[in-house]
């Protein structure tokens, strides 16, 4: 396999398969909770943190592609975005959708300002940063893949363990509360999983499109299934397959950002599923 597609792409493929699986798995619950927009604003809110992380790592004289500092920055920044959304919703008369739109655009805008600043000072060095916006697997290292793989497995494991409580929480929050799963804890767990998926997905799909990983496979799986369990597994399989195909295509055709290719493939799968399931149901 490595002879066919190269060591680097093989690495990226393993990362994408595992990440696609867990993002589809978590995404099924995000989709059922109707929290896709929240995930999108969370992803956009990573940009300022990414750039600040980049600056910090440059200041400390680390390699500019040192992904740990960048991802940590992205995580802190997204978390701050979620806190602002929750504060606006709870303390003002503005609605949830307004809070989401405000945070998404303001954080992203601020991130772009920072990014432009960085670009004007240190031309060429920000090459690593753009990878996180549209996704690129070309420079993926073994350590990146190990982290993405392990975290993906942990996210999927968490979904397996909490599947019943998450299902009850989304379907009937009072039932889950009475069964001993407090609503705020379940809500936090789901947000945390979405956040973690977003952060580890930055490298593969990029922050603009990472929300697609959490929603399109889930929406596709929903068309084919009638239960939460089967839906989440099918969503994971769809996510994994599309991410894998996307990475291979983007490796074969250089200069194509992997994130965009993955999303286009997922969209094709969704489109076909809509047509086929529609035809099937109208035949019955």
């Amino acid at each position: 396999m490595t002879e066919l597609i190269g060591y680097n792409t093989a690495l990226a493929l393993v990362g994408a398969l595992l990440f696609g699986f867990s993002s589809g798995h978590v995404g099924a619950f995000v989709y059922l909770r109707k929290a896709s927009l929240l995930s999108d604003s969370l992803a956009h809110a990573t940009l300022p943190g990414l750039v600040i992380g980049f600056l910090v790592s440059a200041f400390l004289g680390m390699e500019e592609k040192n992904s740990w500092v960048l991802l940590l920055g992205a995580g802190i920044s997204a978390l701050f975005g979620v806190v602002v959304i929750q504060w606006i919703t709870a303390r003002t008369k503005l609605g949830f959708d307004t809070a989401i739109a405000a945070v998404l655009s303001v954080f992203f805008g601020f991130g772009i300002v920072l990014l432009t600043g960085v670009q004007s000072v240190s031309v060429g060095q920000q090459a690593g940063l753009e990878d996180y916006i549209l996704g690129s697997v070309s420079g993926m290292l073994l350590q990146d893949v190990i982290v993405i793989g392990l975290v993906s497995i942990m996210c999927s494991a968490a979904v397996m363990v909490y599947r019943r409580s998450l299902t009850a929480f989304i379907f009937d929050s009072v039932l889950s509360e009475m069964a001993g799963y407090a609503q705020h804890r379940m809500s936090f767990l789901l947000s945390l999983l979405a956040l973690v998926i977003t952060i580890i997905g930055l490298k593969i799909v990029g922050l603009i499109l990472v929300v697609a990983m959490l929603t399109i496979p889930a929406a596709t799986a929903r068309l084919w299934t009638t239960g939460v369990w089967s839906m989440s597994l099918l969503s994971a399989v769809f996510g994994s397959t599309c991410a894998g195909i996307g990475v291979i295509i983007s490796a074969l055709l250089p200069n194509l950002p992997s994130g965009a290719v993955i999303v286009v493939i997922m969209f094709i799968a969704l489109g076909l599923s809509i047509v086929v399931t529609h035809l099937r149901s109208s035949n019955v």
Binding site: L32, T167, D172, M178, T225, G227, V228
Partner: protein, 246 residues
């Protein structure tokens, strides 16, 4: 049985910054069918949330079978209003009833064949056994309500709390549901339901709690559900007693 299922004393609850119920006191007898009746905005939903321990109370005490709200959670099963549920959720009838066992199963325990049998038996109790694999989006209002009753039965809680179980369903389904509730009562369950149709209170229920921010009266329907008390609760005179319209 004269024991109390619920005892509420001097209960005041604020909801969204407004005092929703004030100085409420009543007792619910065990193994009876009790209705909570009152006009819109009387605080019925707030009272239910307080009984379930979902919202903080300002003053007063609630006890259920002699336990405090935190201890009695597993003794109550709750049947929500149908409108509060997303019926497009990917689940079939069996799945929804099985959710009643999630508290008991915890995170990791396997859903065994004994559990399956309990779900099937609860579905038989509400005469929905033939619908086990039907998607919940394809049920009628009355069937949806029966599925939730089955979920409540499978929880095997001592007290069943229902929020408008007859809202938006036809007369035939209503009769079926009343029948199920009566059988549950015979099985030793205590049942409390928020109810809107004044014309059926006396037929369906043993006891009634008349609520409008405070409790106007509570006790057996024959003693308490009088024209005077109902008019006092609804704040109107010349109430058409049978239809509930002023």
């Amino acid at each position: 049985m004269s024991a109390n299922a619920i005892t509420v004393n001097e209960l005041t609850v604020d909801y969204d910054g407004v005092t929703a119920i004030e100085d409420v006191y009543f007792a619910v007898h065990a193994e009876k069918l009790t209705a909570i009746v009152g006009p819109n905005g009387a605080g019925k939903s707030t009272l239910i949330k307080a009984l379930l321990g979902l919202i903080p109370t300002r003053t007063g005490t609630i006890s259920c079978f002699g336990k405090s709200p935190k201890q009695y959670r597993k003794d109550i099963s709750y049947v929500p209003q149908r409108a509060q549920i997303d019926w497009e959720f990917p689940a079939n009838v069996f799945d929804v009833v099985a959710m009643g066992l999630y508290g008991e199963l915890g995170l990791l325990r396997r859903f065994s064949s004994a559990h399956k049998d309990r779900v099937r038996s609860a579905l038989t109790d509400v005469d929905m056994a033939d619908f086990a694999t039907r998607q919940i989006s394809q049920l009628s209002g009355g069937q949806q309500q029966r599925v939730f009753l089955a979920r409540s039965i499978v929880q095997d809680a001592k007290l069943i709390l229902l929020d408008e179980p007859f809202g938006g369903i036809d007369a035939k389904s209503e009769a079926v549901i009343v029948d199920i509730l009566r059988r549950q009562k015979q099985n030793g369950k205590s049942i409390v339901a928020v109810h809107h149709d004044l014309s059926t209170v006396k037929d369906y229920f043993d006891d009634v709690i008349l609520l409008n921010k405070t409790v106007t009266a509570f006790g057996p329907v024959n003693d308490v559900f009088t024209k005077t008390n109902v008019e006092k609760t609804y704040g109107v005179s010349n109430l058409d007693f049978l239809t509930g319209r002023a």
